[in-house]
Amino acid sequence: MDARILVPRAATRGQTIEIRVAIRHPMETGFRFDAMGKPLPKNVIHTLTVRYNGAEIFRAEMGSGIAANPYLQFYTVAEASGEVICDWTDDNGNRGSERAAVSVVG
């Protein structure tokens, strides 16, 4: 699974920073059929969590209503230099992870 995460490289302490995550995933709804009429099993990223220096700062529970290649954008307050780690799991049990470092000054 390809994914991208965007976090400002540098921030000042107390600053609100924007975090963006994009994941390549079919987000198969479970409502579709293949060319032979066989139902395509549901396969969506059901859970996505984002940790910042070990603490969970964001969690998304997604379902079949989310389009393919989900793109999420959210905000947090920069408190200390460290890593933002995004983990997710889909219905097939595939896990993915993407990380980015932020350095906080002041």
Partner: protein, 272 residues
């Protein structure tokens, strides 16, 4: 020759039909229909898109096509085939070596002595230098590499030229463009030359340029090639659909690139 097998009515019959429809057509089509050629002013497909789609394309992170570009960047330095060479082994940094390459395609490959587009050229590299199996058309890997290579030329004008080498391909492509096709009996020109800017159901008809391909299409929820898009146009007029990567589509791609010359490359484009 190229377009013959798509014609569902003989030329004579379609001629008679055209005569019968002439009064209707005369009302329906603008005066510019009498002067076929490149649309003026030249407008990229993105100019017909809604503000949110334009915003999505302009934002390099929100643009889902960039996921394919990122994949292509990885593939660029991954060794493949018996030679264990990667693209980077010969071409080094794509940002330098591939800048300005995509706008010149499709072009005649001297070694293969035939018209190839960017996808075809990547596959020639695979078989000639990497000694690897060619990638099938529309596969994720080929789309990713094509998007990555074309992305290096973003902002540069489409710059194909027509010369003695590719003139026959160009003429076949042009003939296919103006050829009435399918049960609906429309040519490319009827929509994209004579009626661009008007509405077709929920869509605004574009001028049909290929300067943003491979594109991320929201309808596909994936990135796809120009040939995939051409297939939906052929399907839409209920014509026999040529295979992706076929000679007919390559010729048409060349003619479309000639029409679009001067427009900036947008790869990866986003369209509805």
């Amino acid at each position: 020759m190229a377009g013959d097998r798509f014609v569902t009515r003989g030329p004579r019959r379609s001629g008679r039909l055209l005569l019968a429809l002439l009064p209707v057509l005369a009302c329906a089509l603008p005066a510019s229909a009498a002067q076929p050629g490149r649309p003026d002013p030249l407008k990229s497909g993105i100019e017909f898109a809604s503000a949110d789609v334009r915003g999505m394309q302009a934002d390099d992170f929100a643009n889902p096509g960039m996921l394919w570009v990122a994949r292509g960047e990885k593939l660029w330095s991954e060794p493949a085939g018996r030679s264990s060479k990667s693209c980077a082994s010969c071409h080094d940094e794509a940002a330098k070596s591939m800048k300005g390459v995509a706008p010149r395609y499709p072009r005649i490959d001297p070694g293969a002595a035939r018209l190839v587009n960017l996808e075809g050229r990547i596959n020639i590299c695979r078989s000639r230098h990497q000694e690897a199996e060619p990638l099938a058309y529309e596969t994720e890997a080929l789309l990713a590499l094509t998007a990555y290579v074309a992305h290096q030329s973003r902002g540069m004008p489409v710059a194909v030229t027509v010369d003695w080498q590719n003139r026959r391909n160009f003429e076949r492509g042009r003939d296919l463009y103006y050829q009435r096709l399918g049960q609906i009996n429309l040519s490319c020109a009827h929509c994209h030359e004579q009626n661009w800017g008007k509405r077709l159901l929920g869509e605004t008809i574009s001028q049909g340029h290929g300067n943003a391909y491979p594109i991320y299409r929201l309808e596909w929820q994936a990135t796809g090639s120009l040939h995939r898009r051409l297939r939906s146009c052929f399907f839409g007029v209920r014509a026999e659909v040529p295979a992706a990567g076929s000679e007919d589509f390559l010729d048409l791609e060349l003619y479309l690139a000639w029409r679009a010359r001067g427009l900036p490359m947008e790869t990866p484009g986003v369209r509805r």
